[in-house]
Each structure stands twice: as structure tokens, then as C-alpha cells.
């Protein structure tokens, strides 16, 4: 897994074409490596958008309007969770809790975390990334 995290960091995704190479290097079967890549939500197999927007979908954020943000982001970007906009600008992802549950709803844009995100602030975050 540290290797897959490193691949993710360098490339942004785990290219399926790289799986046989990784398997050989690690002395594992392709199926093993494929199994690991597909098991974990973090390892994506397609290139991400230039910006990744992650929205917390877990209970504490639901209690303070998280569901409104989910719907708003989907409508504004015209994509669902796990998808990237056609122009390759933004990938939208769901996350179950960032540990920021006292001051949600929580949204992460690339590496930066935002708490107490209002619908207006979400619009602003999405505009800046678009």
C-alpha cells in the first residue's frame, strides 16, 4: 500500500497498465494487485480532474446541511460522486467523515479542508476551481 499511495501521489491515479509492472516488482500476482487497488476507495484507476472536491456525506455533516451541499455540488458541476467534469476541471468525490464533525459541513478542495461551509461558500469554492 505505501507503493500505491506513492503512485497516487505522483500520477494522481493507478493506471491499470501499471498493475502488471507493480505485480512483477512486488512478486505478486496481477489479480492480487488488482484486488488491492479495487478494494480501497482511495485508489482510482482513471486520471482525476485538475481539482478534486470532496464532500463529507456522514451523519454529523448531514445534521448541519451536508445533504444540501451534496445536491448543490452535483447540480452545479453536472456530475455525480466519483465522476469528473467533461472539461477535466473537477472531480467530485464523497468522503465519510473528515473528523471535523463539530464544525461541519465539511468540504475538502485538493488538500485544503473547509469547515462550516455554507451553500454560498460552496458556490464560491466551486467557482474558483472551475
Amino acid at each position: 500500500m505505501p507503493i500505491l499511495h506513492a503512485v497516487m501521489e505522483d500520477m494522481g491515479y493507478v493506471d491499470p497498465a501499471a498493475i502488471p509492472i507493480l505485480a512483477e516488482e512486488l512478486n505478486l500476482s496481477r489479480a492480487d494487485v488488482h484486488g488491492v487497488v479495487t478494494f480501497y476507495h482511495d485508489f482510482r484507476q482513471t486520471p482525476p480532474g485538475r481539482t478534486t472536491v470532496r464532500i463529507c456525506r456522514a451523519e454529523a455533516c448531514q445534521a448541519v446541511g451536508g445533504r444540501t451541499l451534496e445536491e448543490r455540488a452535483k447540480t452545479r458541476l453536472g456530475v455525480g460522486f466519483g465522476e469528473t467534469t467533461d472539461d477535466g476541471a473537477v472531480s467530485l468525490e464523497q468522503v465519510f467523515c473528515f473528523g471535523n464533525c463539530a464544525i461541519g459541513p465539511t468540504v475538502q478542495v485538493d488538500e485544503r479542508l473547509y469547515g462550516r461551509v455554507s451553500p454560498e461558500q460552496l458556490d464560491h469554492l466551486l467557482e474558483v476551481t472551475a
Partner: protein, 518 residues
């Protein structure tokens, strides 16, 4: 802190929650706007998260707090004399006298927010290493006995006595043993592990080192979820510092004892918080839950005897060793000894960390510390213990926070997360989400969990739509029963808890007819 007299020490938390509401900009603003030399320390958070970013200024009379400070407040605060602790509408007074904090019993969190998390000097100056030094003066069996006597139970959810687990590992014959810290903290509404790792990482390192000495382990791993990048960075930096100071390595504190520690990052899978799934993940595999026995204490990481404990469990150990088992056991009620780090989240006015003895009531936490909802509307439901925990109505606010009392009420304390909802919540929607979450996060090993959760979502949809209500309610009940009985781990086994509690306490949300509940 070697700042000279004319340099003002200002504290601005580095905690990721504080950063999510602008702490970095506040810290930079203070450094830029200050009218005299300042030394900005990026401390952990005191846990009063609704007041973040909370700035503290060191004055001759102690630390004075201001909050919540927005970046655009900084200039005005400096002009008003914040660096001298002067009056201002955002001034909260001396930090230690803020009632919310003063009335808590901070044991595990004693240093969080007080110290510079990465300063070894600060750590030692605030009582750090006292527990490890004492442990190394005792035999491993004596250390295990001390932890057993303290009554410390696992803080990860199941509440298993830590001393008993350690004793099993100590008694296992093996050249190689491991200590693994479960820092997967996947439960919604929980953030205490994160705040301890970001705010006082040396405490966790010390706790793991004590555990290693007690059971004869030479290597340790901290499995941190990938959603916590700041905790990962802080831990890695702290481990490097600990090695450089001889707190880890070939000769820990110059004793004939070798222990080293590594951080591993998860892959965004909730199930990897289950200990055997975590071990598989640490071995680089898919995080599938293992059947028990064998228990990890005997056959854990790479088949070797392994201690698996939660961050807060291990983080409580230094204090227990430093102050003695009795001091710890003096807190609490019944078989729930010591303090618990409760986390107030969701729709709450004053959310954050409340560390206090077991036995405080749910209402005292939510209405007292929490101050009710953030929206100002009435509280309707509270989910305690994460996504697998029960939803409770306000009529149960007199329930004491204690493992046994909660179990008796069909609920669980879990990792101490308390998530508040106001009266706009749709409880059928919450029950549906519990099933949806289980379907998304199931490891896939058992059918009742993998398939049952998917069916559960469909059945709840039909109930709410009013299709064949009584038949579908019965089906949901059967499904819950099947999941409880037929699942290997608590993911499938406990998902019925939020579902059934929502149904039992808030039947009116599940469509129109409420007369038959079976």
C-alpha cells in the same frame, strides 16, 4: 519555549479543524500585524471547536484566549492590545478559567492545546516520559498488572479490558511481537484520535512504547486513515524527533530495550477500522475481516502475537503509569473506569472535546456542554457511538454514559462520539443511510451484511412509500435479525442498531400508519 521576555508568545492551533476555519490565515496575520516581536506557536486545539480559530496570548497572568478569531479580526485585536491580554469583544478571559474547559477532567488530553505538539522539550516539561520511565523501572508483568488494575477498557468501541489483552500477548511465546495502534477513526462524529495525534503525538508514542515493553514487542505500527493527512505528517515528524532523542530505537531511554515505530496510511475503507481487517491492510492486502479465533493477541500481524489498541487507549497509558492505576480508577462508575473523551458534533452549538469521568448523562453533554443545537431548534435525536450506534430521543437524556447502562438501553458508547440532530431530521432517511453506508463499506465476506444492507435500503424505501407496509416492516425486522445473527463482525452485526432504534423511537417518520411495529 526559549523566547526572551520582550517577545510575546501567541498560540494559534495547527489542528486541522482550526485550520478548516482559517487558523493559518490568522497565524500569518498576527505575525504580519504585530507591533512588537511575537513568537507564534502552532499548538493543538483546546477542543472548544466552536471558538476556533481560538488565539491565546501568553501574559504575566497566564494565557488569555480570544475567539473565534476570523482573519479580518486580527488587525483590530492587535490595535486593541491583544498582545497585552487587553479587553475586546472576542476576549474569552484566562483560558484555564473558561468554565467549559475548567469543569472537565483532562487526563488523556491533559497536554493537548497546551504544548507545542512537536517540541520534545515542551513534552518533557509537561510531565512527558514520566510514565515510560516508571514502566521501565518495573517488570513487564508489573506494568500489565498496573494497566489491569486501572480498569482501562478499549476506547475503540468494544470496551475490552486492555490489561487482559496485554497479558495474553505477554504470555505468548514468540521472538517477534507487534504493537499496532488503530487510528482508523472512521466513525462519523468522532475526532478525538485525530486531535490527540495532531495535538500531542508524543503521548501516543510513549503509550505504544510502554505497551511494547509490557508485552515484549520490538516493532509498532500506527494505522492512520488517509482522511487525516495532518495527523500523518505530525506523527511522522514526532517519531523522527523521538528517535533523535533516544525515546525510540535500539536502546529506549538507555535501557536494554529496543522498539521502533512506523506510520501506515489507510485506503479510505471504513471496515479497515475493524482490527483484523486493519491487520490484513497493514500486510498490504485487501482489508478483509478475519474469522476469530485465532485472536490477534496470539496470531495478529504476520501471524505474530499483536496488541491492537485504539489511539485513546494507548494515549491513556502514560498517565496511568505516571500517576498510578488508582488515580485513574478513582474516576468513573461501575465497570467503566477512568475518563472518556466525548466528542460533541453535528448540529450542536458548542461542539468539541469533553473529557470527563464516565457517568455523566447524555443530557448533561448535549444540553449542558453542547448548549443545544447550533440551529437553535429543538434537539430531536442524538446518535451515540458512530454510524453503528443507536439513535436516541431526548426522553433518554438521563442515561449515564457508561458501557453497561448504554448496552442495557440497546445502545452503545462506542468511541464516544455524540452527534446531534434538530427537529428537521427525517429518521427514516437516517435509517436508510445506515443501510446504505453498510452496503458501501461492507468487506463483502458475509452475505447477510453484503446483500442484506442493499435489500435494507430497498425495503425502507418501500415502507416510506407506503407499499405493503406491514409486510415490509416485518421484512425489515427479519433482515435486521439476520444481519445481527449472521454477520462475522460488527459492521453487519450492528447496522441494525441505528435502523431499529430509529424505527422504535421515531416510528412516525416511516410513513403514515404507526399502529403495528412488527
Amino acid at each position: 519555549m526559549s523566547a526572551s521576555d520582550d517577545v510575546v508568545i501567541v498560540y494559534v492551533p495547527r489542528d486541522s479543524a482550526a485550520k478548516s476555519v482559517g487558523a493559518d490565515a490568522v497565524a500569518a496575520g498576527i505575525a504580519a500585524a504585530a507591533d512588537r516581536p511575537v513568537h507564534v506557536v502552532r499548538n493543538g486545539s483546546r477542543g472548544m471547536l466552536w471558538l476556533e480559530p481560538m488565539v491565546e496570548v501568553s501574559t504575566p497572568a497566564g494565557r488569555v484566549a480570544y475567539g473565534p478569531v476570523a482573519p479580518h479580526d486580527v488587525e483590530g485585536l492587535i490595535a486593541a492590545g491583544m498582545l497585552d491580554g487587553a479587553e475586546h469583544p472576542l476576549r474569552l478571559g484566562p483560558t484555564e478559567e473558561i468554565a467549559w474547559l475548567r469543569d472537565q477532567t483532562r487526563v488523556t488530553f491533559a497536554r493537548v492545546g497546551v504544548v507545542d505538539p512537536l517540541s520534545a522539550e515542551d513534552y518533557a516539561a509537561h510531565g512527558g516520559l514520566a510514565g515510560l520511565r516508571r514502566a521501565l523501572s518495573l517488570t513487564p508483568a508489573e506494568v500489565v498488572a498496573e494497566v489491569t488494575e486501572s480498569g482501562l477498557r478499549g476506547r475503540g468501541g468494544a470496551g475490552f479490558p486492555a490489561g487482559i489483552k496485554w497479558k495474553t500477548v505477554l504470555g505468548a511465546e514468540s521472538e517477534l511481537k507487534f504493537v499496532c495502534c488503530n487510528a482508523d477513526e472512521g466513525d462519523s462524529g468522532t475526532f478525538a484520535d485525530r486531535m490527540l495525534m495532531e495535538g500531542d503525538p508524543f503521548t501516543l508514542i510513549e503509550g505504544m512504547t510502554i505497551a511494547a515493553w509490557a508485552v515484549g514487542a520490538s516493532e509498532g505500527y500506527i494505522y492512520v486513515r488517509s482522511e487525516y493527512p495532518d495527523a500523518v505528517d505530525t506523527l511522522r515528524a514526532a517519531i523522527d524527533t523521538a528517535r533523535a532523542h533516544g525515546w525510540l530505537g535500539k536502546r529506549v531511554l538507555d535501557h536494554d530495550f529496543s522498539f521502533d515505530l512506523f506510520v501506515r496510511v489507510g485506503g479510505g475503507a471504513y471496515i479497515c477500522g475493524e482490527e483484523t481487517s486493519m491487520l490484513d491492510s497493514l500486510e498490504g492486502k485487501r482489508g478483509m475481516v478475519r474469522a476469530k479465533p485465532p485472536i490477534p493477541a496470539l496470531e495478529g500481524l504476520f501471524g505474530k502475537p499483536t496488541v491492537v489498541n485504539n489511539v485513546l487507549t494507548l494515549g491513556s497509558v502514560p498517565m496511568i503509569l505516571a500517576d498510578g492505576a488508582e488515580a485513574f480508577a478513582a474516576h468513573g462508575v461501575g465497570r467503566s473506569r477512568g475518563t472518556q473523551v466525548f466528542q460533541l458534533g453535528g448540529n450542536i452549538a458548542q461542539g468539541g472535546i469533553v473529557e470527563t469521568a464516565f457517568g455523566i448523562t447524555l443530557g448533561e453533554l448535549v444540553d449542558g456542554y453542547g448548549g443545544g443545537t447550533r440551529s437553535g431548534r429543538p434537539v430531536r435525536a442524538v446518535q451515540v457511538g458512530g454510524p453503528l450506534g443507536a439513535y436516541l430521543p431526548t426522553s433518554q437524556f438521563d442515561l449515564p454514559m457508561d458501557y453497561e447502562a448504554f448496552a442495557a438501553a440497546g445502545a452503545m458508547v462506542g468511541h464516544g462520539g455524540v452527534v446531534v440532530f434538530d427537529d428537521t431530521v427525517d429518521m427514516a432517511g437516517q435509517a436508510r443511510f445506515a443501510m446504505e453506508f453498510c452496503a458501501a463499506e461492507s468487506c463483502g465476506k458475509c452475505t447477510p451484511c453484503r446483500v442484506g444492507a442493499v435489500r435494507g435500503v430497498e425495503v425502507i424505501d418501500r415502507i416510506v412509500a407506503g407499499e405493503n407496509r406491514s409486510a415490509n416492516l416485518k421484512l425489515l425486522n427479519d433482515l435486521c435479525h439476520l444481519m445481527t445473527e449472521g454477520s462475522l463482525c460488527a459492521m453487519g452485526g450492528l447496522t441494525p442498531m441505528p435502523v431499529k432504534s430509529a424505527l422504535a423511537h421515531f416510528p412516525g417518520d416511516f410513513g403514515t400508519t404507526t399502529e403495528e411495529k412488527r
